[in-house]
Amino acid sequence: MKKITVLTDLLEANDVMAQENRRIFDRNRILTLNLMSSPGAGKTTVLEKTVEKLGKKYRLGVIEGDVATSNDAKRLAKYKIPVVQITTETFGGACHLDANMIKKALEKIDLTKVDILFIENIGNLICPAEFDLGEHKKVIVLSLTEGEDKPSKYPVVFRNADLLLVNKVDLLPFLDLDLSLLSRNAKKINPRLPSIKLSAKTEEGFSDWINWLTKQYNAKSKKRIASCGRP
């Protein structure tokens, strides 16, 4: 038997490609967000409402990740915005998106016509955590029905996140749930993680999310101007 050294790290290879994606986003002045959650937490519903509220102000685009279907892409396509579906069945049924899949999806979007790009990751809180896609911010959507202990059960994804969206607050009266315990659990893992409580159904709290998005977008444009050396 003969030994061959390989010395390749899958995550490092992914990180390199993610950096390339990030450069593409920056060159095209796009703010990119990676939305992660358990199945059914409400990512697509949040996106639908976001397009309704923000679609006139910014040019939005969506990359939809799904293992097998293109249902979510169809739900968003009716808004006449660019939507690209990634079906990971063609990648061995992967349960998360990786930077290479995003790179391929970007070829199908006219990036000069997008200001904010949303990536809906596959419904799963374990696997996507360590796979950088080149996004600028990671957003976790957690629905109330999932319970208070999710941050403790999925610490890796919470540790790496930039925003926690607590969705389905309209259900609070029907549930035996301690919202402050949920916040405490999240703060333990990631003390600086901001959170917004909202309902994509009743739109309660939705303006906080819209404000957060607008702030991120503005911060990014300012940084760009600064780095160009112009006032």
């Binding site: 390749t8 995550l11 049924g93 992967a94 610490p155």
Partner: protein, 114 residues
């Protein structure tokens, strides 16, 4: 399943390596280092690898997996630390401000071929 994607990535990288080095070779052993932070279950990885490597030069290969602990340094008390739970708290002072050094590996170290 997470491990499917990881196994798929491992197989693709090794197939590329074989093309450069020895296109007719059969792989018998694959030496991996897998960090605890990656949430990869060795048994699930073996199973995925077995399924996905069929009809490739890796179909007879076994995985030798070395598990890498999560280690780092606390930014507050400056002690080197090792996490045995995924709670991201410094075992010495309880701080959450940690600098993680190891544990993110999905590393293919070497292969043995015939």
């Amino acid at each position: 399943m997470h491990e499917m994607a990881v196994a798929d990535g491992i197989i693709k990288i090794i197939e590329e390596k074989l093309k450069e080095q020895d296109p007719k070779a059969e792989v018998r052993k694959v030496h991996l280092k897998i960090g605890k932070l990656t949430c990869v279950e060795p048994e699930a990885l073996r199973l995925s690898f077995e399924i996905l490597s069929r009809e490739t030069p890796l179909q007879k290969a076994s995985l030798y997996i070395k598990s890498i602990p999560i280690t780092g340094k606390c930014k507050d008390c400056r002690k080197n630390l090792r996490l045995t739970k995924l709670d991201f708290a410094c075992p010495f002072c309880g701080s959450f401000r940690l600098e993680i050094k190891t544990g993110r590996e999905l590393f293919i170290e070497s292969i043995e071929i015939k």
